[in-house]
């Protein structure tokens, strides 16, 4: 049913874009909790996109890690610090200019990269199987993986160090 998956793709993609937009620039509400909830929706829609790509593992991990853990922590912090609704502030022309340039540059790079990219086989080798993914991670991408792990470890140690008063 190719038509059906296409439909789903557009639906998820549209949802991702809409929720992403509402997350950063919601015209109706400037409540930080609302923004966070739209971010969660964005993440879940992206997980849907992953599912359409048959990357079930990625989809599940996306939801589990980002929606299930990171965003809950965000909410936790928002609620614990009792962050009030953000005040509307005046547009700073310089900031808008810099922002526009930055977005344009990023978009240019992306378009250029996609333009020159050669499309992979649609049914990728990462299809569903976690086993394959794990194997690739621990063979071909072992070094980046380990470097990342060490980075996370360092970050963790740093956080513990910062949060412990008596260690200062």
């Amino acid at each position: 049913m190719p038509e059906f998956t296409d439909l789903l793709f557009y639906a998820f993609a549209g949802l991702t874009l809409l929720c992403g937009f509402l997350c950063v620039a919601n015209p109706l509400s400037r409540n930080p909790v609302t923004s966070a909830m739209f971010l969660v929706l964005t993440i879940i829609s992206m997980a849907g996109l992953f599912v359409l790509l048959h990357a079930f593992f990625l989809a599940a991990v996306q939801v589990l890690v980002y929606a299930g853990a990171v965003m809950v922590l965000f909410l936790f912090v928002i609620m614990l610090l009792n962050i009030k609704e953000e005040e509307r502030r005046k547009m700073n022309i310089a900031a808008v200019g810099v922002g526009a340039v930055a977005v344009a540059t990023l978009a240019g790079i992306l378009v250029r990269a996609l333009w020159h990219a050669t499309p992979l086989a649609t049914t990728a080798t990462v299809e569903g199987s976690t086993r394959t993914l794990g194997r690739i991670l621990f063979t071909r991408y072992l070094l980046p993986f380990e470097v990342l792990s060490v980075l996370l470890l360092v970050a963790m140690v740093g956080v513990i160090l910062l949060s412990r008063k008596e260690l200062k």
Partner: protein, 362 residues
């Protein structure tokens, strides 16, 4: 049956899926209703009381012996409870954040039911193609965790929406508690999958059917999973988000009627899902030590489902029993237990299991 066999496989698949979803949903709902009754009865007996023994439809008194007997057993109580939830005034305080106040109960209840989708609650029914699982996902367990982790939003948003301090505190507690125990829970399961070598829950059962129940191979993992399950379902001794005596009900303080019922439903559905997960992961799912092969006939299939349900019921009773046995943990004790006991234990367990898998099972 014939016309069913002759249908297009896709249509047949969809048909069976819809039937399975319907049946699982219905069964779960009635399970929820009656587990409330069991909870009330068991708690009554533990506390030297009688429990619900009055409610009965008018016609029950005309049935000799059986009517009064069922009435005293409280069989009709869940009906009255359900009716009450439906008919009570649905009250929305004026100061709440309306949108979140309305969607929070739904968010609380949906993940609990979604989790049930990947649980293989039986082998097959009728023909070998009809696997007794709604969605036989390869990443079943990850899916489960992903969905369960979304369950916290219901509670957090409920606490936030109520816009008053006790629910708010409940919501905050809940978010911290859920994250903490999710980590321990996830890590405890990793060792299981190291042994099984697959994330598909059907494969886990397959492994246990031949290799013996995982509870014997991974008792520590089971123990951590069990305790984390209590924490994840907000059941005593970890019911800090709602703790009546401190937070006057916590996140659902401001809720009434059907919206309250949804939280209630969510909690029990979560219990059912957790029980099902434990049965699947550690107690061999629908298998018994001497029944391991997928059923060939209708009767065998039903028997397997029966076995699964029986095991699940045992866990439900455990959930209920524990509630009336323990006092509530203090919040720092809860955090201490999660972060400083279970996570290191689970990590050690993974390490040992990995070593064993690497060197012994090779």
């Amino acid at each position: 049956m014939d016309f069913l066999q002759n249908l297009d496989p896709t249509v047949q698949f969809i048909l069976f899926s819809v039937v399975k979803i319907g049946v699982v949903f219905g069964v779960t709902m009635s399970f929820v209703a009656y587990s409330v009754l069991v909870e009330r009865k068991v708690s009554a007996w533990i506390q030297d009381r009688v429990g619900p023994n009055r409610t009965a439809p008018p016609m029950a008194q005309f049935v000799p012996i059986l009517g009064p007997f069922l009435t005293r057993l409280g069989i009709f109580q869940p009906m009255a409870d359900g009716l009450k939830f439906l008919l009570k005034e649905d009250f929305t305080p004026s100061y709440v954040r309306k949108v979140y106040f309305w969607i929070a109960p739904a968010i609380a209840v949906i993940p609990a039911f979604l989790t049930l989708a990947v649980i293989p609650f039986g082998s097959t029914l009728g023909n070998p193609g009809n696997k007794m699982v709604i969605a036989d996902l390869d990443v079943g367990i990850l899916y489960t965790f992903g969905i369960v982790s979304l369950g916290v939003y219901g509670i957090v948003l409920a606490g936030y929406a109520a816009n008053s301090k006790y629910p708010f505190l409940g919501g905050i507690r809940s978010s911290a508690q859920m994250i903490s125990y999710e980590i321990a829970m996830g890590m405890s399961v990793v060792s299981v999958f190291l042994l099984v070598g697959d994330l598909n829950l059907s494969k886990v059962i397959e492994y246990q059917a031949h290799g013996g129940w995982l509870v014997f191979k991974q008792p520590l993992a089971f123990f951590i999973f069990l305790v984390a399950a209590f924490a994840e379902t907000n059941r005593l001794p970890f019911d800090l988000p709602e703790s009546e005596s401190e937070l006057v009900g916590g996140y659902h303080t401001e809720y009434s009627s059907m919206k309250f019922a949804l939280f209630f439903l969510g909690e029990y559905a979560n219990m059912i899902a957790s029980s099902a997960m434990m049965v699947t992961l550690f107690f061999g799912g629908w298998t018994l030590p001497f029944i391991g092969d997928p059923a060939s006939g209708l009767l065998g299939g039903l028997l397997h489902i029966g076995i699964f349900v029986a095991k699940m019921c045992a866990f439900m009773v455990l959930f209920i029993w524990v509630r009336w046995m323990f006092p509530r943990f203090r919040y720092d004790q809860l955090m201490d237990l999660g972060w400083r006991r279970f996570i290191p234990l689970a990590l050690a367990n993974i390490l040992v299991t990995a070593l064993v898998v690497a060197f012994v099972n090779r």
